[in-house]
């Protein structure tokens, strides 16, 4: 008898902490056949929180050796070595052997950008004040380029504010390349439909026929657009190339979708899912976004996802008020970063930790092969706006999961002083762990052996 790969009962799911997506689920469990361990999907999520975290110790948020560790510091413990958890990081205690904290890492490309802008390069490491003014490819897209064709969606780009934002105030983590930010999706219903209901109830033959026609139409449209391009000046031609490339990439997607119509869609019943949850319910909303990533991974709809939990310029979004909704803090979430009120800063960090731990738990609670989903998933969680003062150094970085992808956990590592290496080194190791054979990413100088087992 073959073992089902996603062996989880509906009850377990209902139990799974959250509310939003307690599911009557999953024919997914039955259509998927057990795959050999070698072929088991290797996944990666890059997630980002804004306005930094509470690091009360010293300048740059580094621990001061003389003082005892602050119970509300974002860093779980003072010294490198085995993890001990404090109040702020307590939600991760059950994941003691699945998380690693990395201290002293950052992207040199973001140094001169100021804290409110360095979020742009969190997943890219681009030198935006130097030679890469329009940013560059992000880690998830590097992976998607290599393995994206294996799943229905090459990648999943999520955020809480939606769209691309502007240079210096990005609302997405993912970029195809210079000048090509990928707009993040932020409406649960829409994300769900893209993942699990793309044909909107049409017959598969009709869908296929339609796609074929679409391809021919896109060809004609491309032709039509080129006739306009011919008549433009050089700079304008470049600008219009954005459009033409978009059409080409839709053509490729049509082709790809057409291929995928031959494989069954994972069936997920929407009953009981609150996909209409809005920004006014912080916990439900954030968890719903995490749930969608979880479902996409679970059903192998995609293997690479990015999730911007808040942008660094959220002042015209509801995210700005989350600290008020959640903690009753009488200022914006951004103000917490500046004033660092002890009673709110730590609690705000903890609230965010709870939501992230919820996601880790869902992965861990889901069996896969002889381990669980978290063992085959890398989860990066951090910020490029580390603490107060618009700093751009020493990011808070936590990496979780991937124990069966060669990662080893349970420690705080410090890369301070003469041990300093670029954050991009971690990215190289992450990419290698999900079978993307790169030797260099952005300004990397090697890989990061500290997080690897053996």
């Amino acid at each position: 008898m073959t073992q089902k790969s996603w062996n989880l009962s509906r009850r377990e799911l209902l139990k799974g902490g959250g509310v939003a997506l307690a599911l009557p689920f999953l024919n997914a469990m039955s259509w998927a056949k057990e795959v050999s361990p070698v072929k088991r999907p290797k996944r990666m999520l890059v997630s980002y929180f804004a306005y930094g975290s509470y690091m009360p110790n010293g300048a740059n948020g580094l621990p001061q050796q003389k003082k005892s560790h602050h119970e509300w510091s974002w860093w779980p413990c003072q010294n490198p070595g085995p993890l001990k958890f404090n109040k702020s990081s307590a939600p991760f205690e059950p994941f003691k052997n699945e998380v690693t904290y990395l201290q002293g890492l950052d992207h040199a490309g973001g140094w001169a950008m100021g804290g409110h802008s360095s979020g742009d390069v969190f997943a890219t490491g681009a030198d935006m004040t130097g030679l890469e003014k329009t940013n560059n490819i992000s880690i998830d897209q590097v992976a998607a380029k290599v393995h994206g064709h294996k799943t229905r969606h090459a990648s999943l780009v999520l955020g809480t504010e939606g769209g691309t934002g502007s240079y210096g105030s990005s609302k997405t983590l993912s970029h195809r390349g210079p000048g090509r930010p990928i707009p993040s999706m932020h409406k649960p219903q829409e994300i769900f439909n893209r993942l699990f209901n793309p044909y909107a109830g049409k017959k598969i033959e009709d869908v296929r026929q339609g796609l074929k026609r679409d391809a021919s139409i896109l060809d004609l449209l491309l032709d039509h657009s080129k006739s306009m391009k011919k008549r433009l000046g050089l700079e304008d031609k470049k600008k219009l190339e954005e459009y033409l490339e978009s059409i080409r990439s839709i053509e490729q997607r049509v082709e790809r979708t057409s291929k995928w119509t031959h494989k069954p869609l994972p069936k997920i019943d929407t009953k009981g899912i609150n996909l209409e949850v809005t920004h006014k319910d912080p916990k439900e909303y954030i968890r719903c976004m995490y749930d969608l990533v979880y479902l996409a991974f679970l059903t192998d709809s995609t293997r690479y996802a990015s999730l911007m939990l808040e942008s660094e310029q959220s002042s015209d979004s509801e995210m700005w008020n989350y600290a008020t909704y959640v903690l009753g803090y009488k200022g914006s979430t951004h103000d917490i970063a500046h004033k660092r009120p002890v009673d709110f800063s730590g609690q705000w960090d903890r609230w965010r930790a709870e939501q992230h731990a919820y996601f880790l738990k869902r992965l861990k609670d889901t069996q896969e092969g002889d381990g669980h989903l978290l063992d085959h998933t890398l989860v990066l969680w951090g910020s490029a706006h580390p603490h107060a003062s618009h700093s751009t150094k020493n990011y808070p970085i936590q990496i979780a999961g991937g124990s069966q992808l060669g990662l080893k956990h349970g420690k705080l590592h410090s890369f301070e002083g003469n041990k300093k290496v670029p954050l991009a080194n971690l990215f190289v190791s992450m990419l290698n762990a999900v079978d993307v054979p790169v030797e260099k990413f952005a300004d990397s100088t090697g890989s990061m052996s500290e997080i690897l087992s053996g």
Partner: protein
Amino acid sequence: MVLRLLVLFSFIFLLTPMGGAFESDSNSQNFKNQIQPFFNSYCLHCHGPKKSKAKIKLHLLSESDFSKEQNLKTWEKLLEVLKSKEMPPEDERQPRQQDRADIAHWIENEFQSSLKGNSQKHSSEPTVRRLTNIEYENTIRDLLGFRLKLIENLPKDPQKPYRFNNTAEFMLMGPEQIDRYLENARRALASAIVDPDKPEVHRTRRDWKPHNLDRGLGLDEVGVWGNRRHSPHWGMGLKSFPKTGEFRIRIQASAILPPGITELPLRLVMGYSLNINSSTQRMEPVGTVQLRNTLDQPRVYEFRGRIENFPAKPGKIVNGRRQADTMVVTPQNLYDDGTLNDGQRPLEMPRAVIQWMEFEAPLVQNWPPEHHKRILFESSLRQENPEAYVQEVFRRFMSRAYRRPATENEVSKFFKIYQLISESELTFEEVMRETLAMVLISPQFLYHTVQDEQVSPHYEIASKLSYFLWASMPDEELMKLAEEQKLLDNKIIDQQVRRLLKDSRSNSFVKIFTSQWLSLTKLKTVPINKDLFPRFLYYVPRGERAGTEEPYRPTIRDYMFEETVGFISELIRENETVSNLVDSNFAYLNQPLAAHYGVQGIEGNQLRRVPLNPESNLGGLLTQGSILIGNGTGTAPHPIYRAVWLREAILGDEVPPPPAEVPALTDSAGESAEKALTIKDLLAKHREDESCNDCHARLDPWGIPFERYNAIGKYQPMVPKEGTRVRGFDKKTHQSLIGYQAYLQSLNTISIQADARLPNGPRVEGMRDLKNYLLKNRKEDIAKNVLKRFLGYGLGRELTVKDRFQVQTIFERSKAEDFKLKDMIIAICQSKIFTGVKSK
């Protein structure tokens, strides 16, 4: 005069073959003899090889820099700071006035000769840019003849404070975007082209009777609050309605008006039911009427709209079957005298009586509707030569969608697409919808129209005018003028600008322009400290969401936004001078705003021009709630935010963001007023640290004179003593808002200090002084800033140093007209930089 001489001067040199050599020779002489020594003695110790504050390294500049674009900006900055005496800093050794002037003159001269040659060229900036989301929605509205809400389905356009986002840099395009455009295009055409048979008409009606009058509000009444279950306040549910089409709602209504009140604003909204204790219900306003008729004269009011624009609640699944989608039409009593939900006196407030309500959709009296016939026009050709008919449909539709005549080549491409789509089993209407949807995702539609060898510049000008002043496509009149090649005639442009500004479509321009220029959106998200300002916003009185802001009704913040937009609109339409931005003898208010600001005698929710008396502490932009709240913390004023706003939005300076690694100060934004740092302390802290002081010495003083305007934008000269505990509003203790205000008044014993010495300027004490200084000394700077904003927005690109002289030309003309705003816009539209006439 000076300028003209300069022009003449460089002109002569350009003509003389010797000129070039001689000029550069004398320049390099000048540079060595005058400029470099000047730098050496006044500048280099801060902006040189050792220290380079603000990353300016003057020792690297040379006279040949004027040919390099990247250095032009440094030179321009240098010119500005020299002229304004911002540099050298006041506490440093100062150059002689004559030296200053000489250097400025030399730089000006260099600009002149280097820019003259290529002033038409803006090679680095593409002219091709896509429509912004608002322009896109407006364009489809004018193309199809009815409004559809399409923006929600598009990725948000990027925004940057104080910048316009209609530039090529911001208007990016990616595959995800085109997906959405296609979805929108299909939706739009599904609404625009109807099927030939008259559809079924859906009707719903509900009546209400005046029961239970002895127990508070009657069952046919809608009060501001204190509403009863099953009264019209609960709305009329709809279980049957079409997916597309125009609807009509009729209500018979009257008002119960207490003495002294003459009207009641009644708004209808449609969507989810609003009587569920949740802030996540979705709805859209249908329209607002002012009820002035009383019970003895009931009247029927009619509302219309497109059903597509209203959110239907998806039907539940019961026993495996999905029930019908539902919507609720809810009437709201928007009467607001500024006391908000203060107190328990629903019967003293005006109430609406609604006897019945009727819903009908779609409207089929004229079938097919006008908007259908506009595309699939009636013609015998359709029978006689279907192919020719289809091509003619494309030609007409594309020529409008592309804002210029479609070429034969373009029409034939779409005919091929049409043939492809015809292969599937679709009706004629379905095929046309799908084909025309493709027109709406082609770049000729999505990008602004530019001239090329096939398109005359007149079409580009028509589009430029309409997208500048309407944020939408040109109408028939503009297109006709383009066809007749008349749009390079200044008289015609003058007429057209006046006509466009008179049209209600120009509201869109004023709204986008004002909101981005003044960075207004912050206003809506600043968290207001409810303890200190208990009756500023509506809060839910009870239930699990007690204390959260009441959703679904316009708040005073919405009115403040409208106030500022309306104020600017008034200045433009009435051709007022630019000084009004700083101070004006009128405000733009409605009753809630008037109550907030303490202006007497304004009734009703409609905003209007209201004359001000000089003691009002109001007038101009600086004291408007939108600005003061948006640049405060919700608890306290924030002098730094306000200073940045004043310098960016009004004076046109670029204020650099706080650099990385500069430690943050505890700013005045505290959790409560008690903990707030006084401004003096704040300033002192800034002065302690050199890295702060460099910027803040030139920043903070601008914000101090605002200090007497509190975090909700009210004039408040007194504050509680430091350490005073301010109790929040409590109905039992204070009875009413007035009682609470009296309590607050009694605590406010310390008068606020609002005096500061402006950088390179006089000492000012409070807002009045600041305004006087701005009006007297900075009017031209402000006017130039406004002019550049209009121009940059109109061109859809950032202005560069290269535009310097063109801007100057328009500026001189506008100055002669006392910087009147409408005239300024006309001057811009007539300028060469705007019309883009290429000199051949």
